[in-house]
Symmetry: C2
Subunit: 237 residues, 2 copies
DNA sequence: CCAATAGTGTCTATCAGACATTATCTA
DNA sequence: TAGATAATGTCTGATAGACACTATTGG
């Protein structure tokens, strides 16, 4: 039999396939806290529980896994997130009561202000402080995914400036440092934090300043290179 | 409707599900070269092409994704690999001619000698030098997965001693360094390489020595901590 | 002895941590 | 001016790179 006939005769229905979903842990930073977006489930299973934004891959809508994750986030936030990174696939026979299932998890970052309008229009969706979210009984294994995303971001905070994508386009260095400190779970030394960012040339001064404390702080923008840059040495945790 | 009735009435058949497979990039080191295990496809699609060891998740045999990957590797090598790490999920509508499909890719390491008997008993499976494999027309998107695994291992070689799992239980430091150098794609400085391994206490002397060149080299074993340890600073690429 | 590979001593360069200091604002 | 936050200067410490050196083998 040649390949063409094989493909014509191939019937997916003959196989018992796992369910496939995508789920995203979308973080943002707002008024001094790390927030994560949760959606209240309106359907079984785990009806009423809070869960990560996500759902089944739709073969007609999604050309690949990342598009599926982006689509789900767009449906809940109204915007395309500026940073999305795959965490990994989690699949086993027990994580979904409906049967053997696989979810492909993503970690994502967005500026709070950019998606506030979109979120407020969807009543089942809201930001939780990350700490509070960790205490909730999330649907499926989403507590585990949240934990994994949190740990991934902690690492990123030690060797990159990626967390900056959770801030508005213009932000101050003290702001960025506080965000990194929350992710890392401890204080960072200002001097080291700033020195390496400057030396690597990852930020662009806007020229403007903003006052939060006493002295106004310079506003910066992420340069495109920031997305890929990693420092060869980690900061102390 | 309560959850129980929902689950009773839920029929997976009502949904169009993607195909789900696992594929592993199994590396080893033998006589100065990095090798990767390939399997010649005996079925459509891509009949006759070389491919990564893997296949569909079997819901009755596999309790989770990693078990599925381990099972497939066991079928081809006869052994349980000592190191297996998820690379990520790759899913889209075009990677498999049979339709929308997802593969969960793993990178794995094994000592060449440990699985030689198992491999020689399976005629469709053999080691290729990694460089040669990269030039083949592999099935599906396996060339891409191989590339991703290679890059992941390159990084590991810069900040860990994980590549050691591709060596026999007892190995010499020059051997380990040569392996790291192949992964990194360039020379490493012996002094730095050895110093950091010693300082972190990642290896255990066996007391025995082995001669390859002139002076015999001390034999070492990986300590368990090696699996998790990462250096805070990368070696120069 | 030489050639070859294994392994070390030691200096320098780089970059993070510590911590004092200066700068710029409000009240 | 005091108090607060922003930002920098400068020293120290850790660790990687460079490179010369010693060690151990066979021929």
């Amino acid at each position: 039999m040649d390949e063409e006939s094989y493909l014509r005769s191939y019937r997916k229905e003959d196989y018992d396939l796992p369910l496939v979903s995508v789920d995203s842990v979308l973080f943002t930073y707002f008024s001094g806290a790390l927030l994560v977006l949760l959606v209240q489930r309106g359907e079984h299973p785990d009806l009423g529980h809070w869960s990560l934004p996500g759902g089944y891959v739709d073969q007609s809508l999604d050309s690949d896994l990342e598009s599926a994750a982006r689509r789900k986030l767009r449906e809940k936030t109204g915007v395309d997130v500026p940073y999305l990174e795959q965490l990994g696939a989690y699949g086993n026979q027990s994580r979904d009561k409906r049967g053997w299932s696989v979810t492909v998890a993503y970690a994502a970052l967005v500026a709070h202000q950019d998606c506030q309008p979109g979120i407020q229009s969807v009543s089942d969706t809201r930001w939780f402080s990350c700490d509070e979210a960790a205490t909730l009984e999330l649907a499926f294994d989403h507590a585990h995914l949240l934990e994994a995303a949190r740990e991934r971001m902690r690492q990123k905070a030690l060797y990159s400036v990626l967390p900056g994508y959770a801030l508005p386009e213009e932000f101050t260095l003290p702001e960025l440092q506080r965000l990194h400190e929350i992710l890392v779970g401890g204080a960072l030394t200002t001097k080291s934090f700033r020195r390496r960012i400057e030396q690597a040339g990852l930020l662009e001064e806007t020229g403007r300043k903003r006052r939060e404390g006493a002295r106004p702080a310079m506003l910066y923008r992420l340069k495109d290179r920031s997305r890929e840059h990693t420092f060869v040495r980690n900061l102390e945790p």
